[in-house]
Structure formats: C-alpha cells, structure tokens
Amino acid sequence: MTAAAQSVFLAISDPTRRAILDQLAHGPTRVTDVAAPFSMSLNAVSKHVKVLERAGLVRRARQGREHVLSLDAAPLREVARYCSRFERYWNERLDRLEDFFAKEKRK
C-alpha cells in the first residue's frame, strides 16, 4: 500500500472525520459550520480537519475572514482500488511468487 493510501485509510478510520466528509459531500462549507454539529471544541474539529487535509481529502480556501472547506474525493479512488477483490487476488498471487523466490535465494 502506498503512503498516500495509508494516510487516506488513517483519515477515514475515525467516525468524526467520516462525518465531516459526509457534510462536505453536500458542498463547500465554512469551518465554523462544519464544527457546529459536533459536541467538541472548534480546536478539536480543526485537528480532525488537518488530518483530512494531509490525506488530500479536504481543501481549504480563504474567503475574506472565513475558511471554507471542500471535499476532494480523488484520493478515495486509490483506496477503493486497493479494496477491489481482483486487486487483492493478484497482489496475494504476487506475494506468493515473491516469497517463493526470496526463500529460494536464501537457500
């Protein structure tokens, strides 16, 4: 798995962050509005947003004094591909082939 896919997995592993992404799926939203439904501080929500930004799932734009967040779903494509049944199948076959020759070399 690539480092980028790992950061996406980490980002979507948390229910608060998934809820933020669900909100942003409806369109760009001000940070304060994103934080409103949660029973946690704005600072705590901002930390979750930063994880999503690092994973490339959320973009931030400044509009005057406001910060507006929007969803970028493109990185999810790689994650979905990783989860594809066919891709798992072939990667397991390649794991087996690689192990076979690695063991042969060690002999």
Binding site: F9, S13, L94
Partner: protein
C-alpha cells in the same frame, strides 16, 4: 457482448521479483510450484498453448471459485496473456496480460486485468463510508 448495465474497469498490479524473467515465467505457469498462482487449486486442467483452454478451482475468501480461460499469448520470459472468466466476472470475458521485464538480476512483473466488473466501486457508492471503513479494517489487519 458486454451487458449494458455492468460497468467495467481495468487494473494493474506490479512487483519486482528476485529471479530471471524465464524462471518467473516457468514458475507462474507451473501449477505444482508453490510460487505459482494456481498452486493449491482443487483441480487444474490446462493446455499450455496459444488457444489452449484452462480450468482451475481455487478456494479463496471462504468459497470455491471456478476459473476458465483461453491462452492468447505465451512468450517465455516475456509475456503470458489469457482470457479469464469466473463467478466474479459476472459472465464477462476479461483479459489478463502478464508482462515480464528484466531489471538487473530481477524481473518486473506487471499484471493488467482488463474489463473487470467495477462492483466494488459500486458497493462503495451504495453503502458509503461504512463499507469502505470495514474494507479498511480488513486491509490493515492483513498488513
């Protein structure tokens, strides 16, 4: 003909294997070798020739999968190509191309699987974040 309502996709996986392309080719096609993709199949029928047919039944992820196909290209040390049908392809004849490229003492193996049903993506859209989080948990467990 492709059923109109099945969305398809192509996928590519690649890996560097510490062996020559000829060795990788031979092991890949030898179903008795522990390194081969068909090793451990419940039953294998294989006619290793262009236009030769194959069948193998594999236990994977809790069920038995029957695979059928026809070899399209067999070039030792370079390329293996065959069609591929299984319950997972939903009746579609998909194409698997395996190319082998020498890189120093190693081989870069690239598997292109074309025309596979895009059902995992469909599930993703249908069930949303819950599904992808579960898939993520499985993937992390396997690491």
């Amino acid at each position: 003909m492709k059923p109109r309502d099945i969305k398809t996709t192509d996928l590519r996986v690649t890996r560097t294997i510490p062996a020559s392309p000829e060795r990788v080719y031979d092991v890949w096609l030898d179903h008795t070798s522990p390194g081969g993709p068909w090793h451990g199949a419940k039953k294998v029928i294989i006619d290793l020739a262009v236009d030769g047919l194959f069948y193998h039944a594999m236990d994977w992820e809790g069920r038995t999968w029957s695979h059928y196909g026809r070899f399209l290209a067999l070039e030792r040390g370079k390329k293996i190509e065959h069609t591929w049908m299984s319950p997972a392809t939903l009746g579609l004849e998909t194409v698997v191309s395996i190319t082998l490229a020498k890189k120093g003492d190693d081989t870069v193996i690239t598997i292109d699987h074309r025309g596979v049903p895009d059902d995992d993506m469909g599930r993703h859209h249908a069930q949303g974040w819950t599904w992808i989080a579960e898939a993520m948990a499985d993937a992390v467990k396997k690491r």
